[in-house]
């Protein structure tokens, strides 16, 4: 039986043929036809037109055919709800079938059809199936309740299915129990407060019994559910642990990890002096080590989790260093994770071995890995003092290799070593200075400048060195500029006589020529310090630095505790709380470790706290750069810095930032004049009907100004946190809300984030968010007292900000705030306060006072807060204004992969006071014209173009190739040693041909085989390819070698030759050629 033939039919009119075959009398022919339909569906063709014909085949006693028809139904029922009704009768009949397999199949499939009318008919059969005599049907029905809940939660509650489901936990069959638990857990996640999964000792006992008997998957469901339970006391906790430990020997790694999760969590409750506690710790190590012999993908998951476990309980794996040694053939992701854990486990006892390994790794091939290894050597030096000397000499050896990235990385870590052990290893400075010229990364340059400044008195030519850096001051990144400024001031304080000119030069560069506020402010501070009191300046600038801590990259303790509760899941792989990557209410509740009954864990936490605060005196890198933010909002994957970063989008991004920097800035200066900036947002959606709300959310947010300000990322988190979990693409959430609550519900309110951690404010924790309620802006604050004493006398003040936000009344915290108490306050805000432009634009600096001290923090408000209700512009005015907008105030954006029709988009946006002024349809495109008014009277106008694209031309929709459709010529390069690259070229050429208007012969395409120097390894003969390309594709063919610059010029000559030849035939050669030659029109991909 060869079914692959079904994949090959592509001829026209096949739908009609299929229709005929589907209605054939012969059973075999029918079945063949359905197979063909399914094959087409798989590859993405639209075969929904065959709906009635396929449904007609449903009444069959052939189980295989029936399953195929059901598969079709699940896919297309939603788009053809009326026709889907035709299937109901068969479903209901099948639910009564004597064969349990068919009963289960029917109820399983019905649950997957998201059509209201079918759902209505599902209730009765489902009720019967939940009580079916056959366990197979019951276990299927249990999952079906979860499906139904996903479609219509209210219905499930009204029909009392939840109670029936709860009863199934006591079922005699273990698999039914497992599926019921899985379904209940999922439903409970969307009702965080309902006591749905009523976990009490009796149910726990039932679950533990079922655990021994059910399938591996069922064990996972049950263990994951157990992890949500909080035992009453340490005794219960111990008895559960005892019954869970045997799972550690299961062959399925997921079972093992879930068991580890339960144990790690319940262990919190056991007193540390208990014998059992020690036994448990010992039992945990071997299974964790065993996970490392699993397949690489699982190893990766395991390693990410071990990383968390090692931070939480280092004692478990402290003797197992060797198993984390990197193997030569490990995939890179496993290598990097192992390295991380090695450093965490490094101690005086094993440091010699670790160093020997790290030195070995530093000579490997993969750049990221080598860098990390070099960095790891530095971290060892800081962590284990005895090894510092050896580490430094190892680093020096590595610097001698002169491999550029190794040198740079080494210098960065040597800086840290200097800070940790001042006045100990300065002898190496000379070696470092030799490598000054090879440093091209900002971090390395900044580190080197810091070293020069710090040890200026020992470096004879420090002034020359710094002066050489100063020449290109404007081209440096901010990090380097700041460091350079400080270093020169240090130098001046140490050698005032010969460096006066230099210091003046840098101060004027920083204060006058720079528009970076940080740099400017620092420059002014130094200037005033130096001019008023040089002695004080010396005390400030050359003050003793606080020592840096031993552990870096630690996860913040509360986050770590939360992640421990998520062992085995995606959250533990990303090291982010689920709320950072899951939208909606699902699974976003914070999980907490249970409190220990007796002894205090508190002895550990201050240490960690210190570590974090010590790290945070480094310049905080938490605020994502605008580029990142835009990337986030657009859901584009801009993050990986690959070589093929598209030139087109990046230039657009620049435009967007320009606009923010200059455009709005100038607008704000002159408020009397109503001007407007204007965005054109283009939405291309490959398949219009399928609307995924979330995506559009992020996407439309991409209109630049909105994007940047809406995506208010949390600020004020300690820098030690590393990756700041984005609260979510601001507009993304905005759109979600529109769908869920209704359009008029008002603007989106982001969840509260912690603005001021207790650690930084003597025990006062402030979290908050902004909301716009009935036209008034509110700042919703939660004050939590985490200190030991009562807090009173609260007051609040804002710094000047971009939109003049100011408290409209005093802060009302009436009663004194006693320890561990939280109070919620809603503070109305006005927009009439003093105005000053902030960076970023939506930054708000706040001071809060209480009886203890004054605390400062900054936060960012979503710009949608400032969109006023009367922001709908008159049509005529809109038209007139639109024309008058100068082009420099205009930015264009393209959003890909967005599926939402214009009405839905417009409704959603209106919820946030973004109003649709007009709508127009051109060809297949919907154009929305929208207006927004800010509180300070500035208008923003936007054009939203929603394009229904051609689903086949996926490559073009990819932003990488944007604009290529208009190119004058193409060079397609492949690697002669790699078949896949040729396949890729083949595909691209096909798409060029498919997508260009007119015939392909119009566009010159030149296929180039590169790596000619590796002739020996080529995958096929030159002749074969050249014949294919020249004869069949009618394209030019050249082989070249970039390494030896062989035939490279020829290739461009050839290309021009083709272009000219084609042009001549059409009689406007010069124009065409000119077009191709203009440098700015030539985009290199």
């Amino acid at each position: 039986m060869t079914d692959s033939k079904y994949f090959t039919t592509t001829k026209k009119g096949e739908i009609f043929e299929l229709k005929a075959e589907l209605n054939s009398d012969k059973k075999e022919k029918k079945k063949e036809a359905v197979k063909k339909v399914i094959a087409s569906m798989t590859v993405g063709k639209d075969v929904s037109a065959l709906f009635p014909d396929v449904v007609n085949c449903m009444q069959t006693d052939n189980l295989e055919l029936k399953k195929l028809v059901y598969l079709y139904l699940m896919n297309y029922a939603k788009s053809q709800p009326d026709m889907a009704i035709m299937a109901v009768n068969t479903f209901v009949k099948d639910c009564e079938d004597p064969n349990p397999l068919i009963r289960a199949l029917a109820v399983r499939t019905m649950g997957c059809i998201r059509v209201d009318k079918i759902t209505e008919y599902l209730c009765e059969p489902l009720r019967k199936c939940l009580k079916d005599e056959d366990p197979y049907v019951r276990k299927t029905a249990a999952v079906c309740v979860a499906k139904l809940h996903d479609i219509n939660a209210q219905l499930v509650e009204d029909q009392g299915f939840l109670d029936t489901l709860k009863d199934l936990i006591s079922d005699s069959n273990p698999m039914v129990v497992a599926n019921a638990v899985a379904a209940l857990s999922e439903i409970a996640e969307s009702h965080p407060n309902s006591n749905l999964l009523d976990l009490n000792p009796q149910t726990i006992n039932k679950l533990l019994t079922a655990l021994n008997e059910c399938t591996e998957w069922g064990q996972i469901f049950i263990l994951d559910c157990l992890a949500n339970y909080t035992p009453r006391d340490d005794r219960e906790s111990q008895s559960i642990c005892e019954r869970v430990t045997p799972r550690l020997s299961h062959a399925n790694s997921a079972v093992v990890l879930s068991a580890v999760k339960v144990l790690m969590k319940f262990m919190e409750m056991l007193p540390k002096d208990l014998d059992y506690y020690g036994t448990l710790l010992k039992k945990l190590a071997p299974p964790l080590v065993t996970l490392l012999s699993a397949e690489p993908e699982l190893q990766y998951v395991a390693l990410r989790n071990i990383n968390l476990i090692v931070q939480k309980r280092p004692e478990i794996l402290k003797h197992e260093m060797k198993v984390f040694f990197v193997k030569y053939n490990d995939p890179i992701y496993v290598k990097l994770e192992k390295l991380d854990i090695m450093i965490r486990l490094a101690s005086q006892a094993n440091i010699a071995q670790v160093l020997a390994e790290l030195k070995e790794y530093a000579t490997e091939v993969d750049v990221d890995f080598v860098r990390k290894a070099v960095r790891a050597i530095g971290r060892c030096a800081i962590k284990v003092e005895q090894s510092a000397e050896r580490c430094v000499s190892t680093l020096l050896d590595l610097i001698q290799t002169k491999v550029n990235y190794v040198v740079q990385e080494a210098i960065v870590v040597i800086k840290d070593i200097f800070r940790k052990y001042p006045n100990k290893y300065e002898s190496v400075i000379a070696t470092l200075c030799e490598n000054l010229d090879s440093l091209d990364e900002p971090e390395a340059r900044a580190a080197m400048i810091w070293i020069v400044g710090e040890y200026a008195e020992r470096i004879d030519n420090a002034d020359e060195l710094l002066e050489s850096f100063l020449e290109g001051f404007h081209d440096e990144s901010t990090q380097v500029q700041l460091q350079l400024l400080t270093a020169i001031v240090k130098l001046f304080l140490k050698k005032p006589t010969e460096t006066q000119e230099l210091v003046q030069q840098v101060l004027s560069l920083a204060t006058q020529d720079s528009d970076n506020p940080d740099l400017r402010d620092r420059g002014y501070i130094y200037w005033r310090l130096l001019s008023t009191d040089p002695v004080a300046a010396k005390e400030v600038v050359l003050a003793e630095k606080p020592l840096i801590s031993e552990e870096t990259d630690l996860i913040e303790p509360t986050l770590l505790d939360e992640l421990i509760c998520h062992i085995g899941t995606l959250a533990s792989v990303y090291h982010k709380p689920p709320s950072a990557f899951v939208e909606g209410g699902r699974g976003v509740q914070h999980k907490r470790l249970p409190a220990r009954a007796g002894s205090g864990e508190s002895a550990e936490s201050p240490d960690v706290g210190q570590a974090v605060s010590a790290v945070s005196d480094a310049p905080p890198a938490v605020i994502p750069s605008q580029g990142d933010l835009l990337g986030d909002l657009l859901n584009l994957d801009l993050a990986p810095p690959t070589s093929n970063v598209p030139p087109v989008p990046s230039s657009m991004q620049m435009g967007a930032m320009d606009l923010l920097g200059g455009g709005l800035d100038s607008l704000m200066g002159d408020e009397s004049e109503t001007s407007a900036s204007h965005y054109r947002t283009e939405v291309q959606s490959p398949q219009p009907p399928e609307c995924s709300e979330r995506e559009l959310g992020g996407d439309v947010g991409g209109s630049p100004a909105m994007g940047v300000s809406l995506g208010g990322a949390p600020v004020g988190m300690p820098a030690g946190l590393g990756a700041a979990p984005a609260v979510g693409g601001g507009l993304g959430d905005l759109f979600d809300l529109g769908g869920g609550v209704g359009v008029t519900a008002g603007s989106y309110i982001p969840p509260k984030t912690v603005w001021l951690p207790a650690m930084k404010a003597k025990g006062l924790e402030i979290s908050g968010t902004f909301a716009r309620r009935s036209g008034v802006i509110h700042m919703d604050l939660s004050f939590t007292n985490k200190a030991m004493s009562v807090m009173t006398d609260f007051a609040i003040q804002f710094n000047k900000n971009s939109f003049g936000l100011a408290p409209a009344g005093p802060l009302q915290v009436l009663t004194p705030l006693s320890p561990n108490q939280t109070v919620d306050v809603s503070l109305p805000l006005s927009t009439t306060g003093p105005v000053m432009k902030m960076e970023p634009l939506n930054n708000l600096q706040v001071a809060v006072k209480n009886n203890i001290d004054v605390f400062y923090f900054s936060c960012q408000y979503p710009i949608s807060l400032l969109f006023v209700e009367d922001g709908k512009m008159d049509r005529q005015v809109f038209l007139a204004t639109w024309k008058d907008i100068p082009s420099e105030n205009e930015a264009q954006f393209q959003i890909k992969d967005c599926h939402l029709n214009s009405d839905a988009a417009s409704n959603k946006l209106q919820g946030s006071n973004i109003f649709t002024v007009a709508k127009r349809t051109v060809d297949t495109q919907d154009m929305l014209y929208q207006s927004v008014k800010l509180t300070n009277g500035i208008w923003m106008l936007a054009e939203l173009r929603i394009q229904t694209g051609n689903p086949n031309s996926t490559e073009w929709l990819d932003s990488r190739c944007r604009g290529v459709r208009n190119a004058s010529a193409y060079i397609l390069v492949y690697d002669i040693c790699c078949v896949e690259s040729f396949e890729y070229v083949k595909m691209i050429r096909q798409q060029i041909v498919d997508n260009r208007e007119g015939s392909s012969s119009e566009v010159p395409i030149l296929v180039v085989g590169s790596k000619r120097d590796l002739q020996r390894h080529r995958f096929t003969q030159r002749r074969a390819i050249s014949v294919l390309v020249k004869k069949t594709w009618k394209c030019g063919y050249v082989e070249c070698s970039a390494k030896y610059n062989w035939h490279v010029l020829l290739l461009f000559k050839e290309l021009l030759g083709i272009a000219v030849a084609r042009g001549l035939r059409q009689n406007h050669a010069s124009i065409r050629l000119q077009g191709a030659l203009q440098r700015n029109r030539c985009s290199v991909m």
């Binding site: 692959s4 094959a39 999922e186 012999s293 040694f325 992020g698």
Partner: protein, 442 residues
């Protein structure tokens, strides 16, 4: 839970696409292709997050299997499921290839419908699945009522891996102890890390629902028995004590789901009702007292910038009466190698330019012997500043004993309902030790 499952060929064309959850759209199919399959670079992580959608993938030959979700799923479970999916497909139609997948796409959809419901993995034991998911749809219609309920009770039941009523004329079972020795040795001959990961693979052809008990020379069990000091066992345990290495310390072991784990945890006895046919009973890992079958002694000398001299000696370290087989030593050479001359005492050696290595093969070698190879490697002068990374010398072999020292002590079979006893079962045991990652740095 899993929102969708896609299978792609190496070009990124979709072969199978099954969506389980409403939050996963067709665009997810394209997102993975564009961002992972077509990303012309090494895979940096098996989990990718694109636009808040997480993709888990594994690759089998040139086929990509991807599971997609938007929720905080159990990541380990998803990967285990993907591997299981591969096993099931292999059991049904052999090698996972584009051709086979296209030929069996109807079957695959049927399987996916059965083993993954709303993203929750269900029973995926091939033994059970094969009873009711067959490639002939009509056949399943002829099941009698009893047969049907037997199927469902097996699929959902406690012993989901074995069906009732199996009969063999000859009750037979085969035990294979397969071990792979992993070693990382420094150039000076110091063991950096060594461990054995072993598997006990069982092929059972037994009638009825037999209850089995498996015993090996596990140190904990032997010590316990020794301490217990029962009079009749005294002689045995003394014997164990006198000959030194009679028991081995197992660091950790995992079992097939048929083994009663709670019983192992409390009594350390391995008892189970085996699946029919071949399966893996247990996996274990040992790190103490490993017999390293071979020792590799490398000597690399750089003679100027354009020449390398390599000498490698291998020594076999086991009983002279035993024979190691399929010995292969792989000596890496720099990328700029222009020519190689090899001389070896035994076997055949060849320079393979495409693999950048000298491959030295020896068919057989007895214990306590030694052999040597020397090679001169000529290099092209390059201006590449970067030093050659010197990958480790790796080795492959097969020996007829268990390097961990594991011995099977007994495997008892009880079937109370049928009339055959432990003595009637024909049992076969063999030990095979293979090289895992057996590397010596040079």
């Amino acid at each position: 839970m899993i929102g969708g499952l896609f299978i792609y060929n190496h070009k990124g064309e979709v072969l199978i696409s099954r969506v389980y959850r409403d939050d996963i759209g067709r665009n997810a199919v394209d997102a993975f292709r564009v961002n992972v399959i077509h990303a012309r670079q090494q895979v940096r992580s098996p989990v990718t997050n694109i636009a808040r959608t997480s993709f888990f993938h594994v690759k089998r030959s040139n086929i990509w299997l991807a599971a997609v979700t938007k929720q905080n799923v159990n990541a380990a479970m998803v990967f285990e499921f993907l591997y299981k999916m591969c096993d099931v497909m292999t059991a049904y139609f052999g090698k996972i290839s584009e051709e086979n997948i296209k030929n069996n796409f109807v079957l695959i959809y049927e399987l996916l419908d059965e083993i993954l419901d709303f993203g929750y993995p269900q029973n995926s034991e091939t033994g059970a699945l094969k009873t009711f998911i067959t490639q002939q749809g009509i056949k399943s219609q002829h099941h009698t009522k009893e047969e049907q309920s037997q199927i469902t009770s097996q699929v959902t039941g406690q012993i989901g891996w074995r069906r009732e009523g199996i009969k063999y004329r000859r009750n037979e079972l085969f035990l294979d102890v397969l071990e792979s020795v992993n070693l990382l040795m420094s150039p000076q001959g110091q063991v950096l890390s060594a461990h054995v990961s072993g598997r006990v693979v069982m092929k059972s052809y037994l009638s009825g629902m037999p209850e089995c008990k498996f015993g090996m020379n596990d140190k904990i069990v032997i010590d316990k028995q020794g301490k217990g000091g029962t009079t009749d066992e005294a002689g045995k345990s003394e014997l164990g004590g006198s000959s030194g290495k009679q028991s081995i310390a197992i660091d950790d072991c995992t079992f097939h789901q048929c083994v009663r784990l709670s019983k192992f945890d409390s009594e350390r006895s391995i008892s189970f009702i085996p699946p029919d046919g071949e399966y893996e009973l247990m996996r274990y890992r040992t790190t103490k007292d490993i017999i390293l079958p071979f020792r590799v002694i490398p000597l690399v000398r750089e003679v100027g910038r354009t020449k390398l001299e390599v000498k490698v000696v291998i020594k076999s370290n086991f009983k002279p009466s035993l024979l190691a087989q399929k010995i292969e030593v792989r000596i890496p050479t720099p990328l700029n190698t222009s020519g190689v001359q090899v001389i070896c005492m035994k076997g055949k050696a060849k320079y393979k330019a495409s693999e950048n290595a000298i491959v030295w093969k020896i068919k057989r070698m007895a214990g306590m012997k030694e052999s040597q190879i020397s090679a001169e490697i000529e290099l092209l002068p390059t201006n590449d500043k970067k030093k050659w990374a010197r990958p480790p010398i790796s080795m492959n072999f097969e020996v007829p004993f268990a390097p961990s020292g594991l011995k099977v002590r007994y495997l008892k079979v009880f079937e109370p309902k049928l009339n055959y006893s432990d003595h009637d079962v024909i049992k076969w045991v063999r030990y095979i030790g293979r090289s895992g990652i057996y590397e010596t740095r040079c």
